[in-house]
């Protein structure tokens, strides 16, 4: 199959997205229906009689056969109608725009921190292999990778919020900033710059530090190990030896030749780590009361809000699938050997 053209590869890859997404949608639908309880019982149970609950369940179609519900669910998605949440009548588009923006802000800065910290420590550790710097870097990488986000988050809150009192421990911004900031994009960092509101920007940055660092450091663990291994491998390559033999100064050999080439595989992994980052974002958002889409997912799950949970899961799935397809495309362009 190595002779397959790039176009055929891309079309095949795109076609595979359809069954992948369909399986995800079906799983989400089934898991929610298998779980006992429904949104109306969750909302009304405990204070109104069943005679009131039943007509409402009927009106919302919860008593229809499961296949009928599934058919309606898929048909709505095909039409791009993600619906309105059952518990608080909120359009899914609003959740994606508002809370999705908050998640985007968090994951962007988390990825930035992951890349800067992970790549820097990985480069240094690889360059000074088997020295105390390397051992320290590796230990740090293993520690942050193995630590659950909520634990790292709680520790960060304790140290920087409670003991040192340096940083706020919750929310996207302080209450007054949230109340007064004009929201253009719902990404507070951008909105503050948009309005030239530098006081708000500083406030937003302070609120970002702990959650973004928590989420970023966990992903940084992967980058540290990967970068380190690649640096060590690259420094052993023939062309590096050749460069040294030609008398090129060591600094140039390392920075201009070895480091650049060592970073190529890292770029691929950055894309693939987005899924891990989104999974971690749910826990980080819970820990820091960050109003992202993961935070909403937990709230709606508790209320068994089918529409909300299904919609949010679709967004998660589509983002991960889109990034994975994009990474595959990039790899196919960069490396001609990759074909079906």
């Amino acid at each position: 199959m190595t002779g397959t053209s790039l176009r055929t590869y891309l079309i095949t890859r795109l076609a595979l997205v359809v069954p992948m997404v369909l399986i995800l949608l079906t799983l989400v639908f089934l898991l929610l229906r298998v779980a006992p309880g429904n949104p109306i019982e969750a909302a009304l149970g405990g204070h109104v009689p069943p005679s009131v609950v039943k007509p409402i369940e009927h009106r919302l179609g919860f008593d229809k056969p499961i296949l009928t519900q599934y058919g309606e669910y898929l048909w709505n998605i095909v039409r791009g109608n993600f619906g309105t949440t059952i518990t608080d009548n909120r359009p899914l588009s609003q959740i994606i725009a508002q809370n999705g923006a908050a998640t985007l802000e968090l994951t962007f800065f988390a990825m930035l921190i992951a890349i800067v910290v992970g790549v820097l420590i990985g480069l240094v550790a690889g360059r000074y292999r088997d020295t105390p710097i390397d051992i320290g870097g590796r230990l740090f990488g293993v520690f942050v990778y193995a630590t659950p986000p909520f634990f790292l988050g709680l520790m960060a809150q304790l140290v920087f919020g409670v003991w040192l009192g340096w940083l706020p421990t919750s929310d996207q911004a302080s209450p007054l900033t949230q109340a007064l900031l004009q929201t253009h994009t719902n990404i507070y960092f951008v909105d503050a710059i948009w309005d030239g509101n530098w006081g708000a920007l500083w406030d937003v940055v302070q609120h970002l530090i702990l959650p973004a660092s928590t989420l970023g450091l966990i992903t940084a663990g992967v980058f540290i190990r990967l970068t380190r291994v690649n640096v060590i491998r690259t420094l052993r390559d023939d062309y590096i030896e050749a460069a040294r033999a030609r008398g090129i100064v060591e600094r140039r050999v390392v920075f201009s030749h070895a480091f650049k080439n060592a970073l190529v595989p890292v770029i691929t992994v950055v894309g693939l780590n987005l899924a891990i980052l989104l999974g971690g974002a749910v826990l980080t958002e819970e820990t820091f009361n960050w109003p992202g889409i993961g935070h909403e997912l937990v709230l709606y799950l508790q209320d068994r809000d089918y529409t909300a949970v299904q919609g949010i899961m679709i967004v998660f799935a589509l983002v991960v699938v889109a990034v994975s397809v994009l990474v595959d495309f990039l790899n196919a362009f960069v490396d001609p050997r990759i074909r079906y």
Partner: protein, 519 residues
């Protein structure tokens, strides 16, 4: 090369330290605003529109924006608010209310009888998913007589109708801004128009509600210049925000151990007042072994109220001896009268002997970890310990998430935990809801004598006779034992030292009147 690299590392370290120092010395935006109260809560707003609002967290938002004909503006005594008073027909089926003159909505529209009729008709027409319309199930129709008179025609005598007028089902909305047949979105603040002291200026779901002052407000001016309610998913995060000074106050809901910890903090004040939230154990009186009255009596004799209050809740709740909490007129400690104030093993043994069952009797108690707070686990562990220690019972505890639990209750469980927050703070709501035939928890309890007392209470023409029936209902409930009440929660708020006026709002009405609070 190595030296240069190390030098670069040193520069990076110094730069990071400098950033940390700047961060440390710069105060992040906190609650340092002039006159605006910033409150924190772990609640979740479901619907702000009064036509579909039936939970306490949404009610706390609505209380600032909307008003009913009656309410609890000061203390736990029901008073006219948008009405000047209501009179009833001899059979208590027709209630005529005179409206206050000169009241305007926050947008300047005058409030008239047309708005009142529109609001009641709207609730019944929409029949929202949250079920608030069920409070108006006795309302046949609403008519007007001129601009300032409203007449409610009821299906049955209803002595506590003015209490219904104080609930969200009776909140008056502007007929020009609220659609007649659909719920207004929470974020549609431009149309969320009421007559209350505040105007909702911004609502960000699960994050924040921002209130400005209502410039057309007919009543006394609030003691602050605005209000922000910030929503938290976890009380621990809210506690940190309060300790860091990001919040002026927090109301609803801290864990008991967090309250105990904050009571020791010098920068904070823990305010506590009468509460109306209760916790109780329900029996399905048709399901063995709880269909045996003597088994239920034995459990009532052993209920460890004091231990739960002190050991689990650190004194933030009080032992409860009636389904009606202390502080409400008509309350009587019926369970203390029938079963005593303290657990009584000898009487429990006698009850089990009369029950003719083999001891220790295996029973299962159900509770939920996801609706009544984390302390529920400890609460039921204490009940299990007390019952097991008597050697009369062998208790198995089982739990389920609220979404599953609330659909099961008496339909599947024999004995289960429930809590209650009233629709209106009156003994009627704490008795009729639990003891009427066909109650919401499907426990099979039905008593002609009880139903007769309920009918008489609802037809009582004086408070004295109504309270007399309510006391009889509580005593009969204690004897029949479809439920065992065990604690009553206090109304608790925590604030910074400079916040004033919170104690003025902690009463049995359980209203957080933010307009009375200043700093």
């Amino acid at each position: 090369m190595k030296r240069r690299f190390r030098w670069a590392l040193a520069v990076l370290t110094v730069a990071l330290a400098a950033i940390a120092a700047v961060v440390a010395t710069t105060a992040y935006g906190g609650a340092r605003s002039s006159g605006i109260i910033i409150d924190g809560t772990t609640g979740t707003v479901v619907n702000i529109d009064p036509a579909n609002q039936y939970d306490y967290d949404s009610f706390t938002v609505d209380l600032n924006i909307f008003q009913g004909l009656y309410g609890f503006p000061h203390g736990a005594k029901l008073q006219p608010v948008l009405a000047t008073g209501c009179s009833h027909s001899a059979n208590l089926k027709t209630w005529t209310c005179q409206l206050r003159h000169g009241v305007k909505f926050s947008n300047g529209d005058p409030m008239t009888s047309a708005d009142v009729k529109y609001s009641f008709d709207r609730v019944l027409k929409i029949k929202g998913d949250q079920g608030i319309y069920t409070l108006l199930s006795d309302l046949k129709s609403t008519t007007t007589s001129g601009k300032y008179t409203v007449v409610f025609h009821l299906k049955a005598p209803f002595s506590v109708w003015p209490y219904i007028l104080s609930t969200n089902a009776g909140y008056v909305v502007d007929h020009k801004t609220f659609p007649a047949d659909k719920i207004l979105a929470n974020t549609d603040t431009a149309h969320m128009i009421g007559t209350g002291p505040y105007v909702l200026t911004k609502f960000t779901p699960s994050q924040q509600a921002v209130f400005g002052l209502n410039k057309n407000y007919w009543g006394p001016k609030p003691k602050n210049s605005g209000l922000i309610i910030n929503y938290f998913t976890k009380s621990s995060t809210m506690k940190l925000a309060l300790e860091q000074g990001q919040l002026d106050m927090a109301f609803q809901t801290f864990a008991p151990n967090e309250i105990a910890a904050m009571q020791k903090e010098k920068s904070l004040t823990v305010h506590s007042g009468h509460g109306v939230v209760i916790r109780y154990l329900v029996f399905n009186v048709k399901r063995p072994p709880f269909n045996n009255l003597n088994v239920r009596k034995a459990i009532a004799y052993l209920m460890p109220r004091q231990t739960i209050a002190s050991r689990v809740y650190h004194g933030t709740v009080e032992p409860l001896y009636s389904m009606v909490p202390k502080g409400l007129p008509g309350q009587t400690d019926a369970f203390k009268t029938v079963y005593g104030a303290q657990p009584n093993l000898a009487k429990a043994k006698a009850a089990m002997k009369a029950a003719h069952v083999k001891t220790p009797l295996a029973i299962t108690l159900w509770w939920t970890p996801s609706h009544y707070g984390d302390a529920s686990a400890d609460e039921y562990a204490e009940i299990q310990r007390a019952l097991d220690a008597s050697h009369l019972f062998k208790v198995t505890l089982k739990s389920a998430e609220w979404a599953q639990y609330s659909g099961a209750l008496g339909k599947q469980y024999g004995a289960f935990q429930l809590g209650w927050f009233p629709d209106y703070p009156d003994a009627d709501d704490y008795t009729v809801s639990f003891y009427q035939t066909g109650s919401f928890y499907s426990n099979g309890y039905s008593s002609k004598k009880m139903d007769g007392l309920i009918a008489k209470e609802r037809a009582a023409k004086t408070d004295a006779s109504r309270y007399s029936y309510l006391k009889q209902m509580q005593l009969l409930g204690a004897q029949d034992l479809p439920t065992i009440p065990y604690w009553q929660g206090n109304m608790i708020a925590v604030s910074q030292k400079n916040v004033q006026g919170i104690n003025n709002t902690l009463d049995a009405a359980y209203y957080m009147r933010f307009w009375l609070i200043s700093k």
